[in-house]
Each structure stands twice: as structure tokens, then as C-alpha cells.
Symmetry: C2
Subunit: 137 residues, 2 copies
């Protein structure tokens, strides 16, 4: 026996929490602003390409390399290197220095090694195990 004729139920619930409103509100308050998430995502997006990862790994190993050497090391074309290095520059991950006709790149940020190592740990590849002999930290 029901006569409730599908009375329009107020949709004040679609926008609110379902299960734990208090907790949700508390968490939402503590979350950083949209801009921070956006910036973080953009940082990770720069690292979200195998070619750029190889460029970074090459610079981690080699310290300083010019574009054509980076191309040879990573297997990327020179053009692809240039494109990708530009993104890395924009993300303040690499720094460059002209020397005659060549442009030499180095890593600009000490955090990058840590980021890659933690990423490798996440994958189970045992990140912090690279003892190249010339750098240890």
C-alpha cells in the first residue's frame, strides 16, 4: 500500500556526503587548494613519459651531457630530445648551459633522484641501489 506518487524528492543529497559527512567535511577542510593539486599533477606529468625518464636517468648517471650525446644515450631522436628537454626545462628539472655550438644539460633539482628512486621502490625494482661509483647520497 503506497500512495506516494513519486513526489519529487529534493536532490539536496546528490551534492552532499553519503556515509561519513563529518569525516568528509574534516578531510575536505584539510585538503590543499585546487592549485596545489594541479601543480603537483603537472610536475608528475613531466615525468610521465619514458623518453623523459630516460633523459633524467642519463643525466643522473652522466652529470652533464649535450643534446646529441643525450640522443645517443637514450635512443631518442635529436628532435624528440629537444622537445622533451624543453618540457623538463619548463618543469625546472634541468638546467642548460651553452658552450659553443653545444648545449649541455644538467639536473636542476636534487629531488628528482629521490622521486625516481621512490618510484622504483613502488615498482619493486629496488630503487636506491645505484652505486655508479662517482656519486653517492
Amino acid at each position: 500500500m503506497k500512495m506516494i506518487p513519486d513526489a519529487v524528492v529534493p536532490l539536496e543529497r546528490c551534492e552532499v556526503e553519503c556515509v561519513e559527512p563529518e569525516k568528509a567535511a574534516s578531510v575536505r577542510e584539510r585538503l590543499p587548494g585546487e592549485a596545489v593539486s594541479q601543480e603537483l599533477a603537472e610536475t608528475f606529468r613531466v615525468l610521465a613519459d619514458a623518453g623523459r625518464v630516460r633523459l633524467i636517468l642519463a643525466l643522473l648517471e652522466g652529470g652533464e651531457l649535450c643534446v646529441c650525446d643525450l640522443a645517443a644515450v637514450t635512443g631518442l631522436s635529436q628532435t624528440a630530445c629537444s622537445h622533451n628537454l624543453r618540457l623538463l626545462r619548463a618543469g625546472r628539472i634541468v638546467r642548460y648551459r651553452r658552450s659553443g655550438r653545444n648545449v649541455f644539460y644538467t639536473l636542476d633539482d636534487a629531488h628528482i633522484r629521490l622521486l625516481l628512486d621512490v618510484g622504483l621502490q613502488h615498482l619493486g625494482h629496488e630503487g636506491p641501489r645505484r652505486s655508479t661509483g662517482n656519486r653517492n647520497d
Copy 2:
């Protein structure tokens, strides 16, 4: 899309190093295989979206939240949450648990907090400053 992972790639392309052939060869030998770079990039790609970053931050703060609460906290639609949570699941970043009609998500990996913190440090936002009090690792 691209080339096969660390198979036997007949890479006799432009091996014409320009400036420091010895160094380049040495660095190339020490680089991990293509597959590792690819996996690393894919891991970072999962983090390369503001919505997913917000989901992770929410779980870092809240510990365990159901989908609708996550939607309310992050500001994403429920559908977008579901899509993004699937990617996070595929990347083994979150774990889920059914409880009645709800599905509760938690972070599945201790490295994620560190990744985000290092990313924030890179941005100059001072990452490791969150003491929620209920979790210590």
C-alpha cells in the same frame, strides 16, 4: 605505439655521438632497460592528474573513505571518481574493500606519501608538514 621493451632491439640508428663518445657509451651501458623507464613513466602518469592527486591527498588525510565521500571531498563527480580510482587501483596505489553497498578505498602503498611530499618540495610548497595524528609511518 612505440617499440618493444627490452627485447633485442637492433638499434643501429644514429649512434653518432658528438661530443663525448666514451662518456656517452658508458652512461648508456649503465642505464636501465627500456622497460624500466616505461614502467616508471606509467607510475608517474597515474599521478599526473589533479583529480587523482586530490583523491590520494584525501586518502592520506582520511585514511579510508567510500566513493561518494571521496567525490564530496575532492569535488569530482562520482563517475570521475570511479574512473580515476580504477586507474589508481591498476597502479596498485589504492586498495578497496566492499562493505554493504559502499566501497571503501585506502592507500595501498607507503611510497605514495613520500612521492607527493617530494613533489611538493620540488614545487617549494614544503611537503612534509602533515601531522594528522592517526597515522605514523
